[in-house]
Symmetry: C2
Subunit: 309 residues, 2 copies
């Protein structure tokens, strides 16, 4: 008789809803990706999560008793203790949804909820680019800019579970209004829509992030200049983070981070030139190891660590 | 026979060298203040520390065996483990000085060294404005702008003991050059010399911080406007800190913080309008309880905590 245990990991983003069945060693066994935009309300989206999880389990003919639990990361502030999602800035219709309770009732599984950037950071710290280090800042560059903090080897969430919001560090006093209600935040300049509309202006046509990255890789000057500027903007916010937290590493992931060397070099150069000497010497700026899967792996780690299996 | 133990606390700033004899309950028994500027080299300053400590002890006729240790806070990055002072941006002549070793040898006392803003924060956390809270950011507004972090109830120093540098968060992309080598840092705008030269321009004469505060308290519009602007600049950097760390409190001290209500209200308003909702609801912005003595008390706490007395 096979008694191996499994974990369900879910990563809900502004663009995609990813679900996976993982082993307790965090190996992804099956993965399913849906478009977040298809679902018009939190009810529809929750329903899609429930039926997709049921499918994942049934397709592999696994008994529910062998699922240790379900972990889910969401792009916004969540109450880790109660499983309540406060709101999701980039997914309409979510406000004070008792997602933990709803999923537990429907799926009859232990459910653990956290912020997606926290789970990204947890995955990179335990098994990824930041493995073996003690103080790490994880940064996700995508629809929004998220962040997570590992302080002295532990995920630090803050008293209201809202810590890590590196995307909402003001980089320009009284600058551009941001979705969060503040002004001049990093996210207001380098969220992926901002980069795309910048590229559209420069190239006088619509262009996606992959094209923009390919152009830069092939040496196209205007594309290089855009990525360099994005790197400086990110570098400025991260200089503040590095001076404040004196971390061992920044691990950067998310769709925008796949744009290649120009962006990373530009961030690294800015930090080297601008951060204080002891901090600049200490920190390394790393690319995510798990890329698109970091959120799913982090969700599974959350289940094991909170469930103590 | 009296066997009561005592602690020596020292707070070295860009302007003053303060020394005190404290009880193990952190009551200041005697205090001595010297001008830092009098001493032209690290050797002269170290010598002044040694002879002042000797005087403090002799004046009270206390046996050296009853001094549990000496704690000292310095305005710059120090290696807490080895007692080496790396450099002091606002006091010339200090570079890689083995201050811990030198003072131990000369005074024959256990010596503990830390960053002054860390000790300020420790004092306010253990006994002052932040008592009972778990996540606190201490900010010192003076010659420079310093900071310290209490994370989950512990002083967090970072791997190279340089964490907490809230004064070196860039608030303006590619802004004014800062002493630290970066650009647009908070300190480059609100260090006390900057405020004074700003006031001199506005009032067309030299004016000190106390006068500028008194003018604002009496309703002088130009003085109020200066303190409001200083508050917005500080508020912008602190909004980033609050969004990133989701702290329970910011405790603000240092000479500039004695300027009265206009400054504090301006900081509080900026944060309320600009920080993210969960973080803004969580945080309180408090004035230092111990004011000028926080560094001395923090130095004494350091001795007890590191010495386990």
């Amino acid at each position: 008789m096979n008694n191996k245990k499994y974990i369900i990991g879910i990563d809900l983003g502004g663009t995609n809803l990813k679900l996976a069945l993982l082993s307790v060693k965090y190996k992804i066994i099956t993965k399913k990706i849906l478009s977040t935009k298809k679902f018009k309300s939190s009810r529809e989206l929750t329903h899609a999560i429930v039926s997709s999880v049921d499918e994942l389990i049934r397709a592999r003919r696994i008994k529910k008793t062998r699922i240790a639990g379900l972990g889910i990361g969401l792009p916004g502030p969540v109450d880790v203790r109660t499983g309540i999602v406060r709101f999701l800035p980039n997914i309409p219709g979510w406000r004070n949804i008792r997602l933990g309770e709803i999923l537990t009732r429907r799926l009859k599984l232990p459910v653990f909820i956290d912020n997606d950037a926290n789970l990204f950071t947890l995955a990179e710290y335990r098994l990824g680019a930041g493995k073996g280090l003690r103080n790490i800042v994880g940064i996700t560059l995508g629809t929004g800019v998220g962040g997570g903090l590992i302080i002295e080897g532990r995920l630090y969430r803050g008293e209201s579970f809202a810590a890590g919001e590196a995307g909402h560090i003001p980089i320009l006093l009284l600058g551009r209004p941001c979705n969060c209600g503040g002004r001049g935040c990093l996210e207001a300049y380098v969220g992926n829509k901002r980069i795309l509309s910048w590229a559209e202006k420069v190239f006088k046509k619509r262009i996606d992030l992959e094209e923009l990255s390919n152009l830069a890789a092939r040496g196209e000057h205007k594309a290089i200049r855009i990525w360099q500027s994005v790197g400086y903007l990110i570098g400025s916010a991260l200089t503040g983070v590095i001076n404040l937290l004196n971390p061992d590493a920044l691990v950067i992931g998310g769709g925008v981070s796949n744009s290649g060397r120009v962006l990373f070099n530009s961030i690294r150069n800015f930090v080297k030139e601008n951060a204080m000497v002891p901090q600049a010497r200490q920190v390394v700026i790393l690319k995510s190891k798990f890329k698109d899967d970091a959120g799913l792996i982090g969700a599974a780690i959350l289940v094991r660590e909170r469930n103590r299996i």
